[in-house]
């Protein structure tokens, strides 16, 4: 499988090209959502809400922004991605399988004993996973470490990290934000999956995150807000990060459970699998969309 590396930077796409890109990415995202729902349904456990909310972002990363080669997961000059919100592993697995890092059949063994697909990402078991995550608030710091490491060896590769909004209640996120700002890690892009919900309720009810744009700006980041379900919007923000002279934070406004009507904005589906009936219903809905 060949992943086209397309850079939007400084290029005004023709309307037709834009339409083609949008259609391709949206089609891929639909397929990824279908896989997410099915793998969690079959596993009978997992986190559908936050996996569905970041599906479009991951598709834009792996099918547009990242410079990578699934046949050479250890390629030195590959761009790296860290899933700081590790519980969205099903979204990452679906995308990695689609890219060809491993056989799609593996998806149906999610969370089973002996599976290469653990409940949360395990870099030793799953090809394409750069570093193990799952305990929240650590992946962004790991991404900072990768960014520093690449800079030390004059490696032009970039690092991307996906952070959750609930996850941002972890102090570790802000320790990493401060370090990245201090070192002007311009090879680092973080994306906030701002779906507004966490296990116990909405983030506003639990512990408010406040003005995230102001917060990240204050930490020295170049902040951009996007509609986290508009693939072109996401791609443009990712491309703009390549020319930023500071670390970039893309605040992606998303909907928890996006793509399945009864999961959307439903906090119950943060960490609960659909029943077999719900799964069938959800899959049909995605197919029709």
């Amino acid at each position: 499988m060949v992943i086209p590396v397309r850079r939007l930077e400084g290029v005004v796409l023709k309307e037709a090209e834009e339409r083609e890109l949008r259609n391709n990415l949206e089609k891929t995202a639909r397929e990824v959502r279908w896989d997410i729902v099915r793998m969690i349904g079959l596993a009978r456990s997992g986190h559908p809400g936050g996996s569905l909310s970041c599906a479009d972002i991951l598709v834009c990363l792996y099918f547009h922004a990242l410079n990578h080669d699934p046949k050479k997961p250890d390629w030195r000059y590959r761009d790296r991605f860290v899933l700081s919100k590790g519980h969205a592993a099903p979204a990452l697995y679906a995308v990695l399988a689609k890219c060809g890092y491993f056989d799609r059949e593996e998806l149906w063994h999610l969370r089973r004993l002996g599976s290469m697909l653990q409940g949360h990402p395990d870099s030793l078991k799953t090809p394409g996973v750069e570093i193990s995550t799952g305990s929240l608030g650590q992946g962004l710091a790991a991404a900072c470490g990768i960014a520093l490491g690449l800079r030390m060896e004059d490696n032009p590769a970039r690092v991307y990290a996906l952070v959750g909004d609930g996850e941002s209640q972890e102090g570790g996120i802000w320790e990493a934000a401060m370090l990245a700002g201090h070192h002007c890690l311009d090879n680092l892009t973080a994306i906030l999956d701002n779906n507004g919900m966490q296990i116990d309720g909405s983030c506003c009810e639990v512990v408010s995150l406040g003005d995230m744009t102001a917060k990240w700006s204050a930490f020295g980041w170049d902040v951009k807000e996007v509609d986290g379900h508009d693939v072109l919007d996401i791609c443009q923000a990712l491309e703009g990060a390549v020319s930023a002279s500071r670390p970039r934070m893309i605040i992606a406004h998303t909907v928890k459970g996006k793509g399945v009507s009864f999961m959307e904005n439903n906090v119950d589906f943060h960490g609960k699998a659909p029943t077999p009936e719900e799964m069938e219903k959800a899959l049909k809905e995605i197919e029709r969309s």
């Binding site: 710091a141 790991a142 900072c144 470490g145 520093l148 490491g149 320790e175 990493a176 370090l179 070192h183």
Partner: protein, 312 residues
């Protein structure tokens, strides 16, 4: 006689870092605003481009170290033992060890000999914490040379490691030609009556106790158990089977530390009388090093008493 020459184990660490850094561009050192204390500052001055000060953020230090190691660097992460293992435990377990990354956590100021700063800065559970993490190697070297050589050896062993160093200067037990052997229970004084296993600061105390006891006709075999994980099962069992009695000495809680590791081994393989010298399930306190060592029964006199009790 135990040597009169006193040196810091931390200086041995700094010497190893300089030597490694000179030869290998993959060597990277991280600290958390304690470079002057942990002695990583020497590396920082020589190789500023390969040194990162993470500030007062030990959790970030460990997770950042993990990321650097994921770009094929050999990363040394330093701070005080209490923060490296306690505050950043989750980062060490879930991001470094679970990913099996080449991060060598080299912590100074382990144990009660931190002294006047008191309990908040005295790591008495760090060996227990690190030993319980899968894939983690645990080394507690006894002097300057052993620290230097252990650090050099660990740099090229795959996966994470924890090295515990102390604050005070300790007698030099080895010399420039010392050939460190990872994972070996090193007999530094042979004896027939009992086996005394010691690590770190307690090795010279155990040697002094052995000298005292020899005058009374008790011949203690003293083992420098610098590698606590993996444990040299064969070496320990070989000595214990000859002597039939074991005393462990550590500047650490007796719960889950080196003594615990030895007790687990003997309990399963060779049940025999064992006594543990260490901190008895308590927090530390402020005081001078000498006062604290005596107060918590870590001095050679107390070790000798424990041995007499076991042999009597």
């Amino acid at each position: 006689m135990v040597s009169q020459e006193m040196r810091n184990t931390r200086d041995g660490y700094a010497a190893a870092l300089l030597e490694l850094g000179e030869k290998d561009p993959r060597i990277v050192v991280l600290d958390a605003d304690l470079a002057k204390s942990t002695q990583t500052e020497k590396f920082k001055l020589r190789f500023p481009e390969r040194f990162v000060d993470c500030g007062v953020a030990e959790q970030n230090l460990m997770a950042t170290a993990a990321g650097l190691a994921a770009t094929d660097k050999i990363v040394f992460a330093s701070t005080f033992a209490i923060f490296a293992t306690g505050r950043a435990y989750d980062q060490v377990r879930n991001t470094i060890a679970y990913s099996n990354l080449n991060v060598k956590i080299c912590a100074s100021h382990g144990g009660i000999t931190v002294g006047e700063d008191g309990s908040s800065h005295q790591a008495l559970e760090d060996i227990a914490l690190m030993r319980a993490i899968p894939r983690m190697k645990v080394v507690v070297p006894a002097d300057y040379y052993e620290t230097r050589e252990a650090v050099k050896a660990l740099a090229y062993m795959e996966g994470p490691a924890y090295v515990r160093m102390g604050r005070p200067k300790v007698p030099v037990l080895f010399d420039d030609d010392y050939r460190y052997e990872f994972g070996k229970a090193l007999v530094i004084r042979p004896g027939r009556d009992l086996t005394v296993l010691a690590c770190g600061f307690m090795v010279h105390q155990a040697l002094q106790a052995a000298e005292e006891l020899a005058a009374e006709g008790i011949e203690a075999e003293v083992i420098d158990l610098h590698t606590i994980k993996p444990l040299d099962r064969k070496g320990i069992l070989e000595s214990a089977s000859r002597t039939g009695k074991v005393v462990t000495c550590e500047e650490h809680s007796v719960l889950g530390g080196m003594g615990g590791a030895v007790a687990e081994l003997l309990g399963e393989e060779m049940p025999l009388p064992i006594r543990m010298v260490g901190i008895r399930d308590s927090f530390g306190t402020s005081g001078t090093v000498d006062e604290l060592v005596e107060h918590f029964g870590l001095d050679s006199r107390h070790i000798a008493e424990v041995v007499r009790g076991l042999c009597g």
